[in-house]
Symmetry: C3
Subunit: 386 residues, 3 copies
C-alpha cells in the first residue's frame, strides 16, 4: 500500500487508484471548520483506504456508534445462520419460549429481525437504566401484544431489535451477544469494534459531539415525536430525552453490551468487520459463505416505516440501500447510527467501508458526507484496472 | 360535575378543567350559522364533557351515524373475542362454512375484518333494498371470488364488512348483531346507540342534513367514483346514488340493523360505548380486558386503500389514527361516518368521546371540527392535576 | 359489419356505433407524420373495430410485441388453471422440484407469477444468447436465492417471469409454452399471435422502429438504470444494451419462443386472443370460464415496484389497470410491451382489444394513444343501444 499522507488535515493511507477518496475527505474537512472523522475501506479483502482527519482523533480512536451497533448484531445473526444454529423461518418461540405470549407464537425470526414484529417499544416507557437492562427489557417484550400485526408492516425497532437478537444469541449459544461477538468475530480477526466496551479500551473512547444547532430555517420543523405516537414510544420520549445525555457518551451504556445502540468502534474496525463477511482477509477465511450473505442481505421489507414515517428497507437486521441511504448496489447491506456513522458491505462491488464522524448530524442518521465518500470509493474501483 | 351551561348556543356540562372544550365548541358554532352538533367525552370512566348546540337538537336526540355504526360492530367483535368465542386467526369458514367458496377457505377472521378480504362489493351491484337484506348480501359474499388476493392489500369494505361481522355474530351467538349489541352491550349499560333502531325510539331521530354545496373552487374536483372502478363497486354507484336518499334518513335502513351503515345514536351514547370498552363506568366492570383491547386495536394494515385511493389504517374492524384521522394516540381506535360523526377510545390517554354533527361534511368522513374538539380534550386532560 | 374505409390514411372496418374509434385514430395519425399502427377490438365476442394506418402496414402485418407476449403467457397459465392442471396456491416446486433451491421451497405459483418471487434477474447478468436459452435461464433461476423475500414485495420480472411460466407449462404439459399456445389456443381459434414465430410467417414481420429521440426538455432525466441496481439487473444492463439491437427485430429472439418478450402478432390477433378468454367467438366456446377469469385477473399485488420504481399492479401474470395503465374497469387484465403495444380484456364492459404501434414510444410501455383509443371504444359501447 502506498503511504500517501493527506494534504490539509487528512492523515493515513490510500492504495494507488484511491487517491480521490482522500481528496474528497479533504474537501469535506475544508468545508467545515473543526470537522473530524475516520473513513476506512476494503476492496477485495485488501485495506485500500484508511484515513482520519480533524482534532483529537487518530486511527485508533473509538467512539459510540449508536445504531451502527445493529450491524454488528446482524453479523452475529448471520454467523448463527452460517453455523446452522438459527433458522430464519422458525418461530422465535422455538428458541425463546416466553416470546410466544401476546399472540406471538407464530412470529418468525425473519419477521422479528426485520422490524416487522410490532414490538417497536414498550409502554409504560423505559428509563435509560431499564433500556440497558437486558433481562428486564427482554421480559417486557416477551409478554407484549404487538402494536401492529406481525408481518403486516415494519417500523424501526430502534432499541428493541437489539434485545431480540441478543436474547436469541443467549438462548442458542449461551453467551451474551457482546461476548459472542468479541470471542468469535472481533478478537480473532483483529476488528476494532465492541458491542460491550471493556474498561481497558475506555481510554481510546472519544465523546460524540452534539449536532450543531440548525440555523433557523423558515418552514423547517424540528423533529418532534409526540410522546403518544409509535415514534415517541420507540424512542422512549415519554420517559427520557433520548439525546440528553447522549447514550454513546454514557459509560454504563457502553459497558452494558446493548446490541441496538451501545457499541463503539473505529471506521477501520467497521470496514474490517464488514469486509470479513464477504472476503478473505489476511489469510483468514471469510466469516460467511456467499449463500449466507445472500440470505441475510435479502430484502425483507420495503416501504413506509410506521415508526420513522419515511420509507425504509430492511434485510435481516441490516438496512438496505434506498434513495436516502445510498450505501451502494442493491446487494449492499449495512447500518447507520444516529450520529452519522455508517458501516456497510457491498458484494456486487467487492467493497466494505466504515465512516465515523465525531460530531452528530441533523437530521440523525447516515451522514451524507459518508455516502459521498463511499460513492467516490466505488468510482475509484470502477476506474481501476482489474 | 360542575354544571356550566355554555355561552352562545352551547348547552350541557363540562367537568372542571374541561371548560376549553366548551369554548372550542362555542367558537365552532359561532363560525357557522346554524351549526348543530353533540360532543361527549369520558376520562377515566367519568363523563367529563356532555355538550350540544344548534337548532332542533338536544342531549337525547339521535341520528343516523353512517359508518360510525362499524365501531359498534367492532365492539361486538371484541366482545366475542373477550368471551373466547371468536378466534381472529381462525378461517372465517370455521364459523361460516359457505364463505369457503371462491377460493376463500383460508381467509382468516383477522383478514376479513380488516378490509383485506377483497370483498369490497359485489357485481352486479346492489339496490338499497338488497343492501339492507342481510341474508341476500351474505349469500353473495360467500359465493364471491375476491377482487384482490385476500391479505395482499386492503380497501374499504364500505358496506360489506358489516355483513361479514353480522354473519359471524349470527353463526357464533345465534342472535343478529343488532340484538346482540342491544341486549349484551347497550341496554345493560345505558348506552344510547342502536344498530337497529326500534320504532319506539324513532321519535328521537333527527334527519341528517345534506352537506352544503361547496363553493366553486378552482382545481377542486368533485369526488366521482367511476361505476366500473373498485370504489364505484364498493359504493354501489352503478345501482343507485349512494347519497340520494341519504340512507341515514331512510326508516327501513335504520330498522334493518345494517351493521356497516344503519346505526343511530347520540354523542353521549358513542362516548359511553367506547368508554365502556376501556374503563369501569358507574360501577359496571369494563366490557373488555386490556389484552382484548390491545388485540382488537392492534394495527392490521396500513397504506394505500384500494377503494378510497388514499392511505388508511385499520385495526380489527376499527379505524386507527393517521394524518387524516387524528383521533389521538397510537393506541386509539374508533370509526367515523360519512356525515362526519366520530366515536373513539384512546387507552393511552384514558379517554373516549363521541361527536355527532347534524349536517354532513364534504369531503365525507371525520369532521375536522370533531378532531379539533378531541385535541382540546386531550390538552385539558394533560393540563389537569392527576 | 358496416365497411367504412377511414378518411386520412386509416383503413379497415368499424361496426355501427364505433365510428368514433376510427375518427380518433385518424386524429392521432394526423398529429404525427408517418404514424403507423393497428387497432382491433371485440365487443361481446364480435369484431367491432379492425383498423390500421400508416406506411408499410396492413391488417396482416405482424411485429414483435416485447412484453405484450407476457399476456399470451398469462392466458396459457389461465388455461392450465381452467383444466385443473395448475394450482395457483401450490408451491412452484411441486411442478418444478429444482425450484426449491435457495430457500424457495414454499414459494407458491401465485407468488412467482405475480412478480413477487424476488427473481427479477440473475447475476452475473445475461447475454442475449443466454436470455433466449430457456434451459440455461431456468437452471439459473432454480438455483437462485431471491433478492427479496418472496411475497414481501413485487418488482417487474421483465425477462424471468416468462421463463418461470414456460418451465411450469413444460413440466405440467410436456410441450413448450410456444407450442402449447400455438396448438391449443392460437391455431384452432384463428388468432394471429405467436410466442415462437415460425419461419413461414416471417415474411409478414415488420421491424419495430426505434423511438424518436426526445426533444431536450429541462428537468427531464433519461431513464438510466445503474448496472448495480435491481432495475439494472432485471434489464441485464451490465451484460448488454437492452435496446440495441431491439430484441423484437432479432430473428433468433422471435424464433426462440421466449415467453417474456419474444412474441409477434397483430392488433387483430391480440384482440381476438383476449376476446377468446371472455366470450364465445364464431361459435367456439370461450377459452376460460368466468371463475377462471376472476381467479387469474384477481389483483395479486399493488404498490411501489422494486424494479421499476413506480407503482404497478399485477394479477396472475397479467397487469391490472392503474393510473398509468388505463386499460379499463377494475376487472380488466392485459399486458403492454416496451414498444407501446397493448392487449387487454375487460369483462366488466365485455370488451377486448389490441393496439400495435409500429414505432416505439418513450418512455417505454403502454402507448397513451392506445389507451385513448380504448377509452373511445368504451364510450362508444356505453352510448350504443344494448
Amino acid at each position: 500500500m502506498t503511504t500517501s499522507t493527506g494534504a490539509c488535515s487528512v492523515y493515513g493511507q490510500v492504495a494507488p487508484g484511491f487517491e480521490a477518496v482522500r481528496d474528497e475527505l479533504a474537501r469535506i474537512a475544508a468545508d467545515e471548520p473543526g470537522f473530524s472523522a475516520q473513513f476506512g475501506a476494503y476492496a477485495g479483502g485488501r485495506l485500500v483506504v484508511d484515513l482520519w482527519c480533524g482534532p483529537d482523533i487518530g486511527p485508533d480512536s473509538i467512539q459510540g456508534v449508536f445504531s451502527a451497533t445493529k450491524g454488528a448484531a446482524g453479523i452475529c445473526t448471520a454467523l448463527l445462520v452460517e453455523r446452522g444454529a438459527l433458522d430464519l423461518d422458525a418461530p422465535v418461540s422455538r428458541y425463546w419460549p416466553e416470546f410466544a405470549q401476546g399472540g406471538k407464537q407464530a412470529v418468525t425470526v425473519r419477521t422479528a429481525l426485520s422490524h416487522q414484529a410490532g414490538l417497536a417499544g414498550v409502554e409504560p416507557q423505559l428509563t435509560l437504566d431499564q433500556l440497558i437492562d437486558h433481562d428486564y427489557l427482554a421480559g417486557r417484550l416477551a409478554a407484549q401484544i404487538p402494536h401492529w400485526h406481525p408481518g403486516s408492516a415494519h417500523g424501526y425497532h430502534a432499541v428493541t431489535i437489539g434485545t431480540i437478537v441478543d436474547e436469541l444469541v443467549r438462548r442458542i449459544d449461551g453467551r451474551t451477544i457482546a461476548r459472542f461477538f468479541h470471542e468469535d468475530i472481533a478478537e480473532p480477526r483483529g476488528i476494532d469494534f465492541f458491542i460491550a466496551t471493556p474498561d481497558a479500551e475506555e481510554h481510546r473512547v472519544r465523546d460524540v459531539l452534539p449536532a450543531r444547532p440548525a440555523a433557523p430555517s423558515p418552514g423547517a420543523e424540528p423533529m418532534v415525536n409526540p410522546v403518544d405516537s409509535l415514534a415517541g414510544m420507540a424512542f422512549n420520549a415519554a420517559a427520557q430525552d433520548p439525546f440528553d445525555p447522549l447514550p454513546a457518551n454514557v459509560h454504563a451504556v457502553r459497558a452494558a453490551g446493548t446490541a441496538s445502540i451501545g457499541g463503539t468502534g473505529s471506521a477501520r474496525g467497521l470496514a474490517r468487520l464488514y469486509a470479513s463477511c464477504i472476503d478473505e482477509i489476511d489469510g483468514r477465511a471469510r466469516l460467511l459463505c456467499e449463500q449466507t450473505v445472500a440470505s441475510v442481505s435479502q430484502l425483507q421489507t420495503a416501504g413506509p416505516d410506521l415508526v420513522l414515517g419515511i420509507p425504509t428497507r430492511f434485510a435481516v437486521v441490516f438496512q438496505k440501500p434506498d434513495d436516502r441511504l445510498r450505501y451502494g448496489s442493491h446487494q449492499a447491506f449495512g447500518h447507520d447510527g444516529a450520529g452519522g456513522v455508517i458501516g456497510a458491505a457491498d458484494p456486487w462491488h467487492g467493497l466494505a467501508y466504515g465512516y465515523v464522524p465525531r460530531r452528530m448530524v441533523a437530521p440523525a442518521g447516515a451522514d451524507p458526507r459518508g455516502m459521498r465518500l463511499a460513492g467516490t470509493l466505488r468510482r475509484c474501483l470502477a476506474a481501476s484496472p482489474a
